[in-house]
Amino acid sequence: MVAQAAPSELSAAPARPSTGLQVRAWLARRAEAVAIPVAAAVTGFVLFGVFLAAMGKSPVQLVEIVWRGGFGSAFALGNSLQRAAPLLFAALCVALPARLGLVVIGGEGAIVLGGLAAAAAAQPLAAMPVPLAIPLMALAAALVGAVWIGAVGWLQAYRGVNATISSLLLSYIAIAVANHLIEGPLRDPTSLNKPSTLPVGEAFMLGPMPGIGVHWGLGCGVIACLAAYLLMDRTTLGFAARIAGGNVRAAQIQGLPVGRLIVGFTALGGAFAALAGFFEVVAVQGTANGTLAAGYGYTGILVAFLARQNPIAIVPVAFLLGGIEASGGLIQRRMQLPDATVLVLEGLLFLVVLMSETLYGRFKLFNPHLWAAKSRATERETARGSTPAGPA
């Protein structure tokens, strides 16, 4: 018998693996992170095609309409990008807490409150110069959102309340509070059949970004995604958050301030979601009203999961989902389908994406480091099995 590690150590392998294997492993893992979500999205679309076929509609026509309504013309592109802007922020409200292992699905409430706070702040700030007032309105929105979703984190960290449930319930409360204020104390008396707050005023409205004709929320959203990526991937704060998300006991034993990390990252996510509401008010609606609760918070959940909680990947995914939502009206009119059809598509996508989470690490192609270790171990066992028996 050869002097060797015990057979239980299946992962035994040379301590210094070849750099070739390391590079391959690195590439393969990156490829896995792209290939599986893309395959899941394609599967979701195929299933939706089956659904359409069952309704007697043509899946091919749907593809054509989504293309024309979402991406085919400058107008369609602009519409898609305009819808992508709040999705960027809303998805960050899911992705940041997700790194700590929290599933926060109440971004919608923070969006509504953020928009309302921005509109409400516009009145006392009316006398201020625009370059000062607009950041202050954004700050007011962000603070409200941070407190709202930060409370979700606080409840989870210090009172053990499940963040998914508390964020969902707080979202309903937020929408109800906002409706109450919009229809009551903050109502613009002249808004008759569509209760709204007082308009923020023409001076406080943000124009389009030069060149692409889409409001500044898009640019700020992309910048927010980049900043969130740097925070999560390149700072020690982000690394600490990932440890806490990877194993809260290990983080506690390392003495990391898990509670503060949870509150901090949920609050930051809430601030981002609230900025979506801020931009809806100052760049699109001009007032805070019921249309703030348009479902961006919920679509943002889908965006974050499709992007695998990666802030960079949120950008293209939000663009794609923005396009699908933009083509919703056209689908309704041209295919005589109810407007809930887009929700069916989003629901199917979400289910498939959630199911695809179980596939990571299962494919030899994407995990050569895992499989190399296993096959080496089996080779060794085979070699041992063919040698003559040991002393009996």
Binding site: E9, Q252, G255, G361
Partner: protein, 514 residues
């Protein structure tokens, strides 16, 4: 069932050419062994030697790739555990399989495959009383299992198998949850039953003294093969160890260098009381002191407050009274305190408690020092993550601590238990350590990893660290400690210098006899 005759006789088992392959890996390779009626046979081997695979093949959990089982000399095709039970084969697992909220009697009755849908408890009780009269085990069957001590639960597990008419009993490390005296009692009773010819026992064990005291014959497995065996007494302990381990150079424990530094008391726990989050378990530690260059071992049966003590020291739960003092100042386990006072905490089950399983080996190795500039934990704080330094440090630690991994970027969950523990030790023991708190460091690890990890702990001690070792493995406590304390029912009940330690006395205190 009401007029059961005398216990049916024990049965003998023989395996012929038993082989089990998982893919190309042969977990069990051509094992033929015979256990006579009324025998008490011990099965020895390291982790992964194939002991569990063998008994699972016999019990019908696994379909063997090749080989047959003979029951009383006749070929028996056992395809599932039910079939094994029908033939009189029973197995007691390492973990308990009783329903905690039901009483012993209820557990026994529901275990029967032929239990009627409506139970006549009066009749059942009479049957049970009659059955228990013929059992050597004394048990109160009317108490809920949750209230039973580990030893009683283990007895109930055995009684359950006998009640199900098992005449061949397989025990998988039956004494790992018992105190030495409980173990002695249970095994002694079983041995007496085999002596009377009522039962045949096959016992998986790691403990040589148990094997020598209770078994009549033994077999040793190594890497799936039967490498030796015979009657107990014909093999010395050295022979058995040599068979188990094979021709591998085993590192002996590093020598202790120097004595405890009497003047430097690093850890002091005074009058600490605490309650675990469930509110059920309380600890009260009057006084616990650990000096520099000293290993203090805390022995105890699992669940006597060791976990809560470790949690207080690690800052997981807050003490309700008293003080924890490290290097002369109060200590609550924050990151800055543990950094400035050079305290390291190595919890039990490192993959579950000290690592993020899906993060890479390299990232896991960085947990302690990632927020400091430079490659040591002593540098100034930094907000920017230095990934290059992290990777370089990981490569160095992997090489220095011989962590076997396919790549530094592989998720740490893909490593074997020994290598996860090596990685955790690499992370925690690289810079100077003043206080090391370590809980069950070698639980579930194989022989080679165990000796290496124990050496690292002794080396830390020799370098001047105060070491608090909390372990449920008494051999480990005896091997490593300079001073031994026993924890029972949340209190430290006994203290002895290791040189004067006596396993029997320690065991008595572990069992609650003070």
């Amino acid at each position: 069932m009401d007029s059961t005759p005398a216990l049916p006789r024990a049965i003998g088992i023989e395996t012929i050419g038993m082989t089990k392959r998982f893919g190309a890996h042969a977990a069990l390779d051509d094992v033929s062994m015979k256990i006579e009626r009324g025998g008490f046979h011990a099965l020895l081997g390291e982790n992964g030697a194939g002991k569990s695979t063998l008994v699972k093949c016999v019990m019908g959990f696994y379909a063997p790739t090749a080989g047959t089982v003979l029951v009383d000399g006749r070929e028996a095709e056992i395809t599932n555990p039910k079939g094994a039970q029908a033939r009189g084969l029973g197995m007691v697992y390492q973990h308990f399989t009783l329903v905690p909220s039901l009483t012993g009697a209820e557990n026994l009755v529901i275990a029967r495959a032929d239990a009627p849908a409506i139970l006549d408890w009066k009749a059942q009780r009479a049957v049970l009383a009659d059955f228990m009269d013929r059992m050597p085990f004394r048990l109160n069957l009317d108490r809920p299992v949750a209230e039973l001590a580990a030893g009683e639960k283990q007895k109930l597990e055995i009684v359950k198998q006998l009640y199900l008419e098992a005449r061949f009993l397989i025990l998988d490390e039956p004494t790992s949850v018992l105190t030495p005296s409980e173990a002695e009692e249970v095994l002694g009773l079983l041995r007496a039953m085999t002596d009377r010819g009522d039962l045949t026992v096959l016992m998986i064990s790691h403990k040589f003294h148990e094997v020598e005291t209770f078994a009549r014959s033994l077999s040793v497995l190594r890497r799936g093969r039967l490498v030796g065996g015979g009657a107990v007494g014909t093999l010395s302990r050295d022979d058995m160890a040599a068979l188990m381990i094979g021709e591998r150079t085993v590192r002996t424990l590093a020598a202790r260098i120097g004595d405890a530094d009497a003047g430097r008391e690093v850890l002091r726990v005074e009058g600490v009381t605490a309650t675990d989050p469930s509110g059920l378990r309380h600890i009260a530690i009057d006084s616990l002191r650990v000096r520099a260059r000293e290993i203090v071992g805390i022995a105890g049966v699992s669940g006597n407050g060791q976990k809560e003590l470790a949690d207080v020291l690690g800052g997981q739960i807050r003490a309700t009274a008293g003080r924890v003092i490290v290097a002369g100042a109060p200590y609550s386990g924050t990151r800055s305190e543990s950094r400035s006072r050079k305290v390291r905490f190595i919890p039990e089950e490192p993959l579950r408690n000290a690592c993020a399983p899906r993060m890479s080996v390299s990232e896991n190795l960085a947990f302690r020092a990632f927020d400091r500039r430079g490659d040591a934990a002593g540098g100034p704080p930094t907000l920017w993550l230095d990934k290059r330094a992290m990777a370089a440090r990981a490569r160095e630690l992997i090489a220095r601590f011989k962590v076997k991994t396919a790549s530094a970027e592989a998720p740490i969950a893909t490593l074997s238990g020994g290598n996860v523990q090596r990685a955790v030790l690499a992370r925690e023991l690289t810079d100077p350590v003043d206080l090391l708190i370590v809980v069950n460091p070698c639980f579930g690890l194989d022989f080679a990893a165990v000796s290496e990890i124990r050496n690292r702990i002794v080396a830390a001690r020799n370098a001047g660290a105060a070491v608090l070792l909390i372990s449920e493995d008494l051999d480990e406590i005896l091997e490593l400690s300079d001073r031994i304390l026993v924890m029972s029912d949340g209190r430290l009940v006994y203290e002895t210098p290791a040189a004067a330690a006596e396993a029997g006395t320690i065991g008595r205190h572990m069992a609650g006899h003070h």
